[in-house]
């Protein structure tokens, strides 16, 4: 032991598990996170994983946070080092005074440790091997045994863990009892051989409330089920595949006809992203609610079709679970780097609606809303998630649905309306909102049919290369985009306790880190008003928020300040007034990063009177 005193903290620390990919650790680690939740203490877990299936290093980080800070914190208070491959880096990453938990079966030279941390050795392999003979069992139960040991070390209530195991293996008594047995093997060994508990402790609290614990991709998929999506076409790509997989499993549960057992949905795994968006556009053209889920490279492939959707005015919903680009980039790391690519996707003059949910609850709401918007606006709607929201469990408010809610199917001219003699012009703006009526194929024997094409045409869908006709249509599309501004979710503003000249704009998964950063900055004497942008096109309140402040920081997770570019470009803002705060190394943005970046900038703004400075 060193002079560095061990970290002592209750319900506020970070545990990181270093594992080997494919070793079955994921479920044990998730069990750890859920067990802490059952103590009434919020957690925020994150998967840090390679683009690989088996053998490479993977980490699972659990931030235990009674205060409810759900963003990544940075730093590690306790490392559960189960991967020899990353040992040195893992040991080095522990905060001074932190804890190292490792499998002590094989002795390690003292050079492999640090003297400013507490080292906890548990002979996991020895315990496992003396209890189990089957190699697969040894592997899996080793994970549960370390969970048991942690339970003792962190002073967790074993009954709550047992309860969770019971729920997980309901009806599978043999698995249930063997898991509970393994849990106690680890816990008992720790209680008998180690000084328990450590300085890091979990204490029962009441800070979780009715919140739920769900991955953003699963919530977005559920939003698609509730929003009435019937056609899903997709191509596997990390980190979006679990959207389509979750949609499949939700549909299996909730979308089969009670009498016939038949499916009220169609899911097609396309041969590529071009086919996926083509299927979505074909289905939407024909009156079904359809979507695809993809990530950056998929968006690149889809752009020709996205232009068609914009110009021929066909609804489509694209869920983009962003990852670090460009090219293959870092496919398993998070970023908000497709803002520009999606806002202006395709050739020619195009603009698209983007929705930026902050967490799974908003992913659910916005996903369902996206189908209404797509059909109302007859264009592509992007739901912009990222890996951090999409592939991690996040604590969020319960999902809500109003049973009186009806789908907005947009301006669809029916056979009855055509019979009445209504004038149908597929690209005719009848009421000034820029949105024309459409008909579904097969509506009426003699009225309402039209020819859809990506080439220019007049208000009655007749082919035309006349300049004035083309320009008239392009102007209407601008009007339609202006209409969209008041339909999309508005920005949310939160003002500082005291009036301030400074503001900050942020969006999406930055949200929890931003909320936490505000507290840190306030403690340092910096007051900031906040505006969380939730959609593009920007509501007029974005421009007025900027006008109301001397400087506005724009916090985002990409290199090129893409949201800031979009604001400058779309609102004609002087770029000097928008200070970029950029985080783009593929890890989720932290409150520490935001607070330090903004704090440093603010400190420079503080004018020190000359006389004082020289005295």
């Amino acid at each position: 032991m060193s002079v560095q005193s061990p970290i002592s903290s209750v319900n506020d620390f970070v545990v990181r598990f270093a594992n080997v990919n494919g070793s079955g650790s994921a479920s044990a680690n998730e069990l750890f996170a859920r067990s802490i939740l059952r103590h009434g203490v919020p957690v925020s877990p994150r998967n840090i994983f390679p683009s690989n299936i088996q053998g490479l290093p993977t980490w699972y980080e659990v931030r235990v946070t009674e205060d409810g800070h759900l963003g990544a914190r940075g730093g590690v208070d306790m490392m559960v080092a189960m991967n020899p491959q990353t040992w040195d880096k893992d040991v080095a990453s522990i905060e001074p005074g932190g804890y190292l938990f490792y499998d002590s079966t094989k002795p390690m030279p003292s050079s492999k440790f640090r003297d400013d941390i507490t080292v906890i050795g548990v002979p996991l392999t020895a315990i496992t091997n003396s209890t189990y003979s089957d190699p697969r069992q040894r592997q899996l139960f080793k994970n549960i045994i370390y969970l048991g040991a942690l339970c003792a070390l962190l002073d967790m209530d074993p009954k709550l863990v047992e309860q969770l195991i019971g729920e997980q293996y309901k009806g599978k008594e043999k698995l249930l009892s063997s898991n509970v047995h393994a849990l106690h093997l680890g816990r008992d060994w720790a209680l008998q051989n180690l000084k328990c508990p450590l300085g890091l402790r979990v204490r029962k609290a009441d800070k979780v409330g009715d919140r739920i614990f769900i991955e953003g991709n699963s919530a977005a998929a559920l939003g698609a089920v509730y929003g009435g999506a019937t056609v899903c076409a997709w191509y596997p790509i990390t980190p979006s595949s679990s959207v389509a997989e979750a949609f499949t499993s939700h549909c299996k549960k909730y979308r089969h006809d009670a009498e016939t057992g038949k499916a009220k949905y169609a899911i097609v795994q396309g041969e590529d992203e071009l086919a996926s968006i083509g299927i979505v556009i074909g289905a939407s053209w024909n009156g079904a609610r359809a979507f695809t889920a993809t990530s950056g490279p998929g968006i690149s492939l889809m752009t020709e079709f996205i232009g068609l959707s914009y110009f021929a005015e066909i609804p489509a919903v694209i869920m983009n679970i962003q990852r670090a680009g460009p090219s293959t980039g870092m496919p398993t790391r998070t970023q908000q780097c497709d803002v520009i690519a999606c806002a202006y996707a395709s050739h020619g003059d195009t603009k698209h609606v983007l929705l930026f949910p902050e967490d799974p609850a908003e992913a659910f709401e916005f996903a369902a809303h996206a189908f209404d918007l797509a059909e109302r606006l007859q264009t592509t709607i992007f739901l912009m998630l990222d890996l951090d929201i999409g592939m991690n469990h996040r604590l969020c408010r319960p999902l809500k649905w109003d049973d009186a809610r009806q789908y907005d199917r947009g301006k669809v001219m029916t056979a009855e309306m055509l019979e009445e003699g209504r004038d149908f012009g597929r690209y005719l703006d009848v009421d000034g909102d820029g949105i024309p009526f459409r008909t579904y194929p097969g509506t009426h024997p003699t009225k309402g049919s039209y020819f859809t094409r990506g080439t220019s045409r007049d208000r009655y869908a007749r082919y035309s290369e006349e300049g004035a006709v083309y320009a008239d249509n392009m102007q209407r599309l601008v009007r339609k985009f202006e209409t969209a501004q008041d339909m999309v979710p508005r920005p949310l503003q939160a003002n500082a306790a005291k009036p301030t000249k400074y503001g900050v704009i942020y969006f999406g998964s930055t949200s929890p880190a931003m909320d936490e950063a505000i507290g840190i900055l306030e403690a340092r004497g910096h007051q900031l008003d906040r505006l969380r942008i939730r959609a593009f096109p920007f509501h007029s309140s974005v421009a007025s928020f900027i006008a109301d402040h001397d400087f506005v920081y724009v916090v985002e997770q990409n290199r090129d300040a893409q949201l800031r570019q979009l604001i400058v470009n779309e609102n004609g803002i002087d770029p000097v007034r928008l200070v970029p705060i950029l985080h783009y190394d593929g890890t989720p943005i932290t409150a520490r990063f935001i607070a330090n970046s903004i704090g440093d900038h603010q400190d420079h703004l503080k004018v020190t009177p000359l006389r004082k400075a020289v005295s």
Binding site: I212, K264, W285, P445
Partner: protein, 351 residues
């Protein structure tokens, strides 16, 4: 020449089909293709087939990609919705449309550049999935709209109008469709309407992926000596294995044929296909045999035409996905939304 309005009046004595529609009800705008284009003959055959089948014109969805052939859906079935989509991507758009509403008839019109070059993948995968559609490729071996470049169906050794010899091997879409499991495969020639019309009619009535490769000479860029897609060349090398009559309903089969020369195939929906055999050895139920037959004849420079393969018990994508009978685009909130009570349970399971 779409600025020329087609006159709406017609002869009062024009023949009507079972639904009371005349030929004119199946027509579209005036073609803007070159005079004498093979594609216009295919358009005429589609009109004829739909008229003969007494299809409600608005219950057809016409979907195409980009190119001369893909422009043609504007020239037939003027009361149907049409979709001139993205180059090479007709199959995916059609697949999506079909998923949304299983009750319409889907007619996919494409070209050899659209389906064998840029859209080869989509062609293959739509066939693999068994989408219930009639997929017609108007095959001229050349890019017409961009003035005469070779497409992927141009035969090796054939000459372009500018005198360039094609050194790449050709893709035979019929052979590929057979390999990929299309359940109705035919080849015809735009200049042989009597063969083509019943093939289109039979394909429309087929429940599954129907593919018809129609050799359709490009009068502007691929109708010269040295081309293997010219009118003259195709007429000389056409080897029809059978002739087809499509019988809808219960009318008796014509007995004009010599005994043993007619094979009757009954499809799912009761349509009967009467095949007059021209080649005694050809069996259109034998997928493997058809592939071998095609390759043997191709080696001899012959273009095999006719109904090459049919599986009367075909399944389609909706069967595979086990979707409800009601078109998906007709399901409402009640049918689709699980509601708040279910959501409360989901919430409870996530704590």
């Amino acid at each position: 020449m779409t600025y020329i309005a087609k006159p709406k009046f017609h002869h009062p004595g024009l023949r009507k089909n079972e639904l009371g529609y005349t030929h004119r009800d199946y027509e579209g705008k005036i073609s803007t293709l070159c005079a004498g284009c093979g594609h216009d003959s295919i358009t005429a055959s589609i009109i004829e087939a739909c008229y003969e089948l007494s299809i409600e014109p608005h219950r057809v969805a016409k979907i195409s990609g980009i190119g001369c052939s893909s422009k043609t859906p504007d020239y037939f079935l003027g009361n149907s919705h049409g979709f001139n989509s993205v180059h090479g991507r007709m199959p995916s758009v059609l697949t999506g449309a079909n998923l949304a509403n299983r009750d319409l008839i889907y007619l996919g019109v494409s070209g050899d550049g659209d389906s064998a070059s840029i859209g080869f993948g989509q062609f293959a995968h739509s066939i693999r999935r068994g989408v219930n559609m009639t997929y017609i490729v108007e095959n001229n071996g050349v890019y017409g709209l961009t003035k005469g470049q070779f497409s992927a169906t141009a035969d090796r050794g054939s000459k372009s109008k500018k005198g360039v010899t094609n050194t790449d091997n050709a893709i035979d879409l019929v052979a590929i469709a057979l390999q990929l499991g299309a359940t109705f495969v035919a080849r015809s020639f735009s200049g042989d309407k009597t063969q083509l019309v019943p093939l289109i009619a039979a394909a429309i009535r087929h429940k599954g992926a129907s593919f018809i490769d129609v050799i359709s000479p490009c009068i502007a860029f691929n109708n010269h000596a040295g081309s293997t897609k010219s009118f003259d060349y195709v007429r000389e090398h056409n080897d029809a294995v059978n002739r087809l009559d499509v019988l809808v309903g219960r009318e008796p089969i014509s007995v004009d044929y010599a005994p043993g020369t007619v094979q009757v195939v009954e499809q799912h929906d009761g349509t009967r296909l009467a095949l007059r055999k021209l080649d005694a050895d050809y069996d259109p139920h034998d997928r493997l045999g058809a592939q071998t037959f095609l390759q043997k004849h191709a080696a001899k420079g012959q273009i095999v035409t006719g109904l090459l393969y049919v599986d009367p018990e075909a399944e389609d994508l909706h069967t595979h996905l086990d979707t409800v009978e009601t078109p998906l685009n007709a399901l409402d909130e009640k049918a689709l939304c699980p509601g708040s009570a279910v959501l409360d349970k989901i919430n409870a399971s996530l704590r």
